[in-house]
């Protein structure tokens, strides 16, 4: 049973996609102006992550190696469309709030990353748990960021209380505040991790070259040196 619980728990803390692997930065910064939108985005991405992990794991022996990335993208895009339609029908206000970032779940590198790194190599049960764990980690990080930014930027938490707990520092609700809060959170995560885990090394780089798909692209090097063919 050990490997099942490990597949689930690693995404929550040890390999938290947002705070430790620093993936999926666009939604992390964009929709965390409030608790509810951060949480909503987390749930939507978790749904896509779990479903696409399951389907890709089921298809892992059928999808030819050469076209696996386009195949993964089609599966992910399919589930993203399902989330879009469900949200439009049942949670129209959240749909408004997430706007363009809902269809952009397709290009969230966490999802494609898990498909490539885990789901395409492991059995269905493990893949589902891995997706769930990563999703929970992503949702937790987004909710936390949403809470910080809503409290500081708007003075409320989940829209409560009506006239605010404290005076609003508007800049935290603005894009600049998003970068700032994320930077501070990563700094705190690094600090805590180094204290708790002797072997931990803070990530020094961000973006494409640290993306799990970098090896697939074969061109993820920062600085633009040409690799391979």
């Amino acid at each position: 049973m050990g490997k099942y619980s490990a597949a689930f728990t690693k995404g929550i803390l040890k390999e938290n996609p947002t705070l430790r692997l620093i993936l999926g930065t666009c939604p992390t910064l964009a929709v965390t102006t409030a608790v509810i939108s951060g949480f909503g985005m987390g749930l939507a991405a978790t749904f896509v992550l779990v479903c696409s992990n399951i389907v890709i794991s089921l298809l892992r022996k059928i999808i030819p190696d050469k076209v696996r990335l386009p195949a993964f993208i089609v599966v992910i895009a399919g589930f993203t469309t399902i989330v879009q339609l469900l949200m439009k029908a049942y949670l129209p206000s959240l749909n408004e709030l997430l706007g363009i970032y809902l269809p952009l779940i397709v290009v969230n590198c966490i999802i494609l990353g898990r498909a490539e790194a885990f789901a395409s190599k492991n059995s269905v049960g493990l893949a589902a748990l891995d997706g769930l764990g990563m999703g929970v980690g992503f949702t937790a990080a987004l909710t936390l960021m949403g809470a910080i930014r809503e409290l500081l930027g708007n003075g409320t938490l989940c829209g409560w209380p009506e006239n605010g707990l404290m005076p609003a520092i508007t800049v935290f609700a603005l894009p600049a505040g998003g970068f700032f809060v994320f930077g501070i959170l990563i700094w705190l995560t690094n600090k805590l991790s180094t204290r708790l885990d002797k072997g931990f090394k803070p990530k020094q780089t961000i973006g494409c070259e640290s993306c799990p798909n970098a090896a697939t692209c074969g061109k993820g090097s920062e600085g633009g040196e040409q690799h391979g063919a």
Binding site: T25, L29, P70, V171, P175, G183, I206, G224
Partner: protein
């Protein structure tokens, strides 16, 4: 709906800057911005793909998806078009324009999953732009991406030499620098009533 063409470009470039105000294309913005040269090359590749993607997706939305009530397939169709387009552009450039391929080629594969490209094509449709306006909007967004990338690369080149507290080195300091650059773009908010 009438749109002022000049304001569309300027809006994408400054007021609603894709990277700094709308958080689209953050991965390359933080990843490929260590030096000005690569940042410039990456941005040119993004502008190029954005224009191509818009030229391909706009007609498909209005002549294929909408008349057949297939609007809900937008996400799947657009991402597939962008992915194939990027591959196609790469092959064509490699064969026919080797100098351009040398300059942009290495950035092209990274662009497939760049949310700025998918974002601009969907936003064009959502904003109800006609074909010309869509192309201009993509151009403005691309130029805005270029501006943000090159500016931020300049900041980061300076940051390399700065004496930063140990814990903040690397990613946190990059993000905080991005926050300050984004703050400066706040000055454009409300400009031209956008």
């Amino acid at each position: 709906m009438e749109h002022n063409l000049f304001l569309i470009v300027l809006g994408g470039l400054l007021v609603n800057n894709f990277v700094l105000s709308q958080f689209l294309g953050i991965c390359p913005f933080l990843g490929v911005s260590k030096k000005i040269g690569p940042a410039f090359g990456m941005s040119l590749a993004v502008i190029f793909v954005m224009l191509m993607a818009t030229a391909a997706t706009w007609p498909i939305q209005y002549f294929l998806l909408d008349p057949n009530d297939l609007g809900y397939l937008q996400t799947i169709v657009f991402i597939l078009i962008i992915a194939t387009l990027v591959q196609l552009v790469e092959i064509v450039l490699k064969k026919f324009v080797p100098p351009l391929y040398k300059a942009l080629g290495i950035y092209l594969p990274l662009i497939t999953t760049n949310c700025a490209v998918l974002g601009v094509t969907i936003l064009n449709i959502n904003s109800g732009y006609n074909f010309g306006e869509s192309m201009l909007n993509s151009l403005g967004a691309g130029l805005g991406f270029l501006l943000a990338m090159v500016m931020f690369a300049g900041v980061r080149e300076r940051l390399e030499a700065a004496d930063i507290p140990e814990g903040l080195k690397g990613v946190p300091s990059t993000l905080i620098a991005a926050s300050l650059v984004s703050l400066s773009f706040l000055g454009f908010q409300g400009l031209f009533g956008l």
